[in-house]
């Protein structure tokens, strides 16, 4: 596993350097980086992790993302509906992998636009997640690679293909308990770097850097709720010198039902310990 991790980190680093090389060739770059005004968004995310066999689960996520517009400040209007599904493989209690697809529905939030109001976006994604206990907490490393086909709202817009390289570091620290178990309030700081590559990506390899802090509460072993605030920034695709910023309120529901028959549940989870 370590080797795999190392390999991916190297690939990410290499791509970063290559992209940086391209960026120097961009002509319209401003002399200093410019930051757009931050936008505010609200995300309601559901994360389902549905056990379907001893080693397999169905990863089902649906997100509703709202963003502010001039007419609808703060919570804004619906921007994206996001369906992410995958079949996951439980390698061990601490390591799992997923492979699946994403259908994202993008809504045109530009009130002045005459373009199409809704366009789909497709992705194939795979993910490698590693957990490590640390004292009473857990820390997580998540590598996620996405192959993404997007198009603009314009009538004749064509799909462009990009790859996304994402690494997330996250910790979950229980606040009122000595371990993460039901009836526990925890705080979860998290940082994710999203890099991108592809023909369309010339000077803006760093798509997004997300810094989040969430407060969560474990209701049962199968249900957790969390809410937090995320600051994000990243290069715009059009111009690598211009950075967009955002403040996002995020609300999460994590659920993990087990639809297996009772007799198949036994023994519970004992993979290799």
């Amino acid at each position: 596993m370590k080797k795999l991790l190392e390999y991916f980190l190297r690939v990410v680093l290499l791509l970063f350097i290559l992209s940086a090389g391209h960026a120097q060739e961009e002509e319209v770059l401003p002399t200093t980086s410019k930051y757009k005004d931050p936008s505010t968004k609200v995300w309601f995310n559901t994360y389902g992790n549905i056990r379907i066999s001893k080693r397999l689960f169905w990863d089902a996520q649906t997100h509703f993302r709202f963003e502010e517009t001039e007419d609808t400040p703060f919570i804004g209007q619906i921007g994206q509906i996001y369906n992410r599904h995958a079949i996951g493989y439980i390698y061990s209690k601490k390591v799992n992998f997923s492979l699946g697809g994403v259908l994202r529905v993008n809504f045109n939030t530009d009130e002045d636009s005459d373009d199409r109001p809704v366009v789909p976006e497709f992705r194939i994604w795979h993910q490698y997640q590693f957990a490590m206990p640390l004292y009473n907490s857990m820390i997580y490393h998540r590598l996620r690679i996405e192959h993404r086909w997007t198009q603009g709202f314009a009538e004749d817009s064509e799909y462009i293909f990009r790859n996304r390289w994402r690494y997330m570091f996250r910790a979950k620290i229980p606040l009122n308990n000595y371990k993460l178990e039901p009836s526990t309030l925890y705080v979860s700081p998290e940082a994710e770097l999203i890099m991108q590559s592809g023909k369309a990506v010339v000077a803006s390899p760093m798509e997004d850097l997300r810094l989040t802090t969430t407060l969560g509460y474990i209701l049962t072993p199968r249900l957790t709720v969390a809410g937090g605030l995320m600051y994000s920034q990243g290069q715009t695709l059009e111009n690598g010198g211009i950075y967009k910023q955002g403040w996002t309120m995020r609300f999460h529901v994590y659920f993990s039902p087990d639809i297996r028959k009772v007799k198949n549940k036994l023994p519970e989870i004992h993979f290799d310990d």
Partner: protein, 612 residues
């Protein structure tokens, strides 16, 4: 008869305890086997002789019409060998050591006739070393005649008979040390002389006499005439030798009577005075036998009663009565037993009653007021003043037996009651100790738990209840049913104690149930195992309905039978909860939704509800 065909049998044969090879001829007349002609039966075993020892015998003689008739020779040997052999001529010779009995003489139609010689000889190296016994008696048709001679190792008895077999004149035993002489007159033994002493035996005139055989019975009759030391003096000597002679004749008689008709026993005869029991005496004797049997059974039962033996150490009245039993046993039952024995041996008819009284009660006849122990206290049985043992001997003995039996009945009644009371007292003590032990354990139980805890109050209530019950019991007066009450209370207190223990253990049991109903669930988001309670409706019913119900029940209107039911319920509930964890309980869980009635829940759990 002579026309009948004679048959011959040769082969194995058994006569009494003798097994050997036989050779005889016989006739079957009217279905009966009658021995006829020569008879021989022998046995010897060389292997047995060489191995250890051989018992050999040989009987040779002649039968006529089933009666032994003619010359007979009986030999019995018991030999062992030194295992050295020698060939002489064409025969192997083995020397033997042992004893050889031999009886030789002539028989006329089953009765000894002519000279009979009986001998016992010690054999060493196949030669006669010593004659141990020898008797020579001449018979005429079974009746001993003229003079006889019986020799033992170191003594010789000589005497003579009248023609009808009655002993006559002096019978004298000559030995190295002394001589013993029995003087008969026409069959009546008048005097015995031994070691310079001389004592008269039967001196006339007699009302009546009877002719008896000079056998064991005669020696018993004789013994009744003698003082103790005289009897001891005469134990050996003529008495013994006559007995020994009788034994030898009996051996031969046993064999002959097995084979056919015979009256081989020597009929030495003597005359003794006769005092026949009259009908009143016979009735008294019957009553003696009956009363003696019952009284002696009671006496033995009391004397061997271990509890009574213990009780008499602490209870002086019991000790007194115990000693009274002993005294009655010695002074009444002992002599009565002797009388019964004498009757069994058929000698009562030959003893003078006064003589018998002197013999039975050398210190005089006992009184109805029985002196017990050293302190001069007397035991007086029921109606003691109506008894007088001074009159007619047999009648008095009969009365003694009645008195002894009644006294024994009375004493047994008193003593067994005492033993029973004592036993009851001990039972009470034991039961009360158990009660206290249970109460103490209850108190300890209470000390070891937090009385403010959920179950503390119930246990406190149980303890109060138990103490109340004990107080009620201890203030109750002794009565018929108190022992039963005590037994019930011990059981009840034990039940209370168990209930308290069970209740005190409940938190522990609850934890055990909780653990049993906890599953480890893998949380994919946290990537760890989390404990999850399963079958929550069952555990909720257990925790929120049943346990409070049981607590409530043990806190109010508790009695022994309810406590017992609660104990059973607690045990069964715990067991059932553990079973339900493993069972498919989907239906049950559905039914449990919203169910709050404890008895319904118990029924759903397949447990016996408390109220029925």
């Amino acid at each position: 008869m002579f026309g009948q065909e004679k048959l011959r049998y040769t082969g194995p044969f058994q006569v009494g305890s003798f097994v050997g090879e036989v050779d005889y001829t016989y006739q079957i007349i009217d279905g009966d086997t009658l021995l006829q002609g020569p008879f021989s039966m022998k046995r010897s075993n060389l292997d047995a002789l060489l191995d250890q020892k051989d018992k050999t015998f040989s009987f040779l003689g002649v039968f006529e019409n089933g009666f032994p008739n003619g010359p007979w020779d009986f030999q019995f040997g018991e030999f062992e060998s030194d295992q050295k052999t020698e060939v002489v001529g064409y025969q192997y010779r083995i020397n033997v050591d042992g004893t050889q009995h031999r009886a030789q003489g002539s028989i006329a139609m089953g009765k000894p006739d002519g000279l009979w010689t009986i001998s016992e000889q010690l054999i060493e190296d196949s030669e006669v070393k010593e004659t141990l016994f020898s008797s020579q008696i001449t018979y005429s048709n079974g009746v001993p005649q003229q003079s006889f001679r019986i020799e033992a190792r170191q003594s010789t008895l000589v005497g003579r008979f009248l023609r009808d077999g009655l002993a006559h004149d002096d019978w004298t035993l000559f030995s190295d040390e002394n001589t013993e002489t029995w003087s008969f007159e026409e069959g009546v033994l008048t005097q015995i002389q031994k070691e310079g002493q001389s004592f008269d035996i039967f001196l006339g005139p007699f009302k009546a006499t009877r002719t008896v055989n000079l056998d064991k019975r005669f020696s018993k009759i004789l013994k009744l005439q003698l003082e103790q030391e005289q009897a001891t003096l005469l134990k050996d000597g003529i008495n013994k030798l006559l007995g020994e002679n009788g034994e030898h004749y009996k051996k031969v008689d046993d064999i002959l009577s097995q084979l056919g008709e015979s009256q081989f026993m020597p009929l030495f005869k003597a005359k003794v005075p006769y005092f026949p029991l009259d009908s009143i005496e016979r009735t008294a004797l019957d009553s003696i036998q009956e009363n003696y049997a019952q009284a002696s059974k009671l006496a033995n039962g009391l004397l061997e009663n271990t509890q009574l033996n213990l009780l008499k150490r602490s209870d002086s009245e019991a000790e007194f009565l115990y000693l009274a039993v002993k005294t009655i046993n010695d002074t009444f039952l002992g002599p009565l037993k002797k009388v019964i024995r004498l009757n069994e041996h058929q000698v009562l008819d030959y003893v003078n009653r006064e003589q018998l009284a002197n013999r039975l009660f050398p210190k005089g006849r006992p009184s109805a007021s029985i002196e017990v122990g050293q302190e001069g206290r007397s035991y007086q049985g029921p109606d003691h003043h109506t008894y007088n043992f001074a009159g007619d001997m047999m009648k008095s003995l009969g009365q003694m037996s009645v008195y002894a039996k009644q006294s024994m009945d009375h004493i047994a009644g008193v003593l067994y009651e005492k033993v029973k009371n004592e036993q009851q007292q001990q039972e009470f003590v034991a039961l009360e100790e158990q009660m206290i032990a249970h109460i103490n354990e209850l108190n300890q139980q209470l000390d070891s738990i937090d009385s403010s805890a959920a179950w503390g109050k119930s246990i406190l209530n149980i303890k109060d209840l138990a103490e109340n019950k004990l107080n009620t019991y201890s203030s109750a007066t002794a009565s018929e049913g108190k022992l039963e009450e005590a037994k019930r209370l011990v059981t009840c207190l034990e039940t209370f104690k168990k209930l308290a223990q069970n209740l005190a253990q409940l938190p522990e049991k609850e934890l055990e149930i909780q653990e049993a109903y906890t599953d480890n669930v893998w949380n994919p988001f946290m990537a760890n195992l989390m404990q999850e309670e399963v079958k929550k409706r069952i555990t909720a019913a257990y925790r929120n309905v049943l346990l409070p119900y049981i607590q409530n029940q043990s806190g109010s209107n508790l009695d022994c039978s309810k406590a017992d039911k609660l104990n059973q319920l607690l045990g069964a509930l715990h067991k059932r909860m553990l079973e339900l964890r493993e069972e498919d309980t989907h239906k049950l869980e559905r039914k449990l939704r919203k169910e709050k009635d404890p008895n319904t829940i118990l029924e759903l759990f397949n447990l016996q509800p408390l109220n029925n």
